[in-house]
Amino acid sequence: MSRGRNRSREQEVKRQKIILCMIIMIILVGLVGGIFLSVASKEKKNHSSNKKTVENKGEFYEIDDTSEDNSFIDQDSSQEESTEELTSQQENDTQKSFEQSLFIGDSRVEGFKLQSGIKGGTFYTVVGLNLKDIDTNAFVKENGEKKTVLAAMKNKQFQEIYLNFGLNELGWVYEDKFIEQYDAFIKQVKEIQPEATIYLQSIIYVTKKESESDSIFTNERIRLYNDKIKELAQKEQVKYIDLNETLAPEGELKETATIDGIHLVKEYYEKWLQVLNQVN
């Protein structure tokens, strides 16, 4: 009997030793595993793929003050040569101050805002902006509110106002109706902003391909509208800026100047800015 008891005790002790060893092994495995995971994670953090850093491509230069001039002007053709020499914003030495300037226009002016490198300026621009609903289209965001262009303009006095209409109105049946509405708009702007110098910018041509493939966006129609805009500027005694003298001197945009036949590439938005830099 005692031998039997001894044997069972020995077996019990042996069994308990085995259980103890298994518990110790599990603890060790758990510790080693935790350490391994920690090290592997740190290695993954330290190892990173190609790092091309994003560069800031907007650089700005000295700012010149300009004086106001209410006389009717055309773009000086000699300025075309000087702007043609500029290949990018980064090669320009000076930039006119646009801090007190307001720009109103469509998707092209939106592209100008984003890609020309212009410093400062207030922009009331939206894709598809059209004179037909200028009084009701509340797209200008100010202090959490949305306002029409004319309502937003009442909050601040600007020194210069650059208007750019006509592209989205090329499809109007009567171009004189466009001029009538543009004239009414200019009068309203003058009433709200009596001290501002107003500039009417020409409609920039489209490419030959776009002009030949579209019944509305044709260079012939753009030419007609620009002639009428120029006459309107004279009538209202505001300034006219012929952008095409620099951007499309041959009467059509080069294919390389645009992304889709209508909207400019960055280089040409920068050239547009250079034109405005030269305007007095």
């Binding site: 518990i23 758990g30 595993g33 990173s48 091309k52 092209r108 984003l114 922009f123 992304i259």
Partner: protein
């Protein structure tokens, strides 16, 4: 009896060890969702250079970018924005902020406005806006409207 005490002690030690292992693993998982500036820069530059966009996007300075989205400087830590020529609704923007919920909400609102703007102007852009990438990764809100959004989404999951 003594052996029983040892067994109890080992069981407690085992439990403690397992707890440490589980907590350690979960902490490592949390660290892995944090995104660095280098990762964002890499994602952005690869995206811009990919064929994901039809438009030519250009870098826009902070002032213009904040104005574009109606965000104040105080609401963010940094913004990297690439915007188009006016020919499309395409854009890529990464905003670092402590309040990712608010910025994500503002950007979602921006996309809704873009959809309205392009519906009558260039309706072909609307599907791009509807399938836009809007993600929060760590402290970054990432928004992208692209011609090939799957390309950009793949670059995002590869880099971030």
């Amino acid at each position: 009896m003594q052996f029983n005490k040892i067994k109890k002690l080992m069981s407690i030690l085992l439990c403690i060890t397992m707890i440490f292992v589980v907590v350690g693993c979960s902490k490592e998982e949390k660290k892995e969702t944090a995104v660095t500036k280098e990762q964002i820069d890499s994602f952005v530059s690869q995206s811009i250079e990919s064929d994901g966009f039809k438009d030519e996007l250009a870098f826009v300075d902070e002032e213009k970018a904040l104005d574009q989205y109606g965000i104040t400087k105080e609401e963010i830590e940094s913004i990297t924005a690439y915007l188009g020529t006016g020919a499309s609704a395409e854009e890529l923007v990464c905003i670092k902020t402590k309040d990712t919920d608010k910025i994500k909400s503002l950007m979602t609102q921006h996309l809704e406005e873009q959809k309205k703007n392009f519906e009558s102007y260039l309706p072909d852009e609307v599907p791009k806006i509807e399938s836009a990438l809007v993600e929060v990764k760590g402290d970054y809100v990432i928004v992208c409207v692209a011609d090939k959004i799957d390309t950009i989404k793949k670059l995002q999951s590869d880099n971030l």
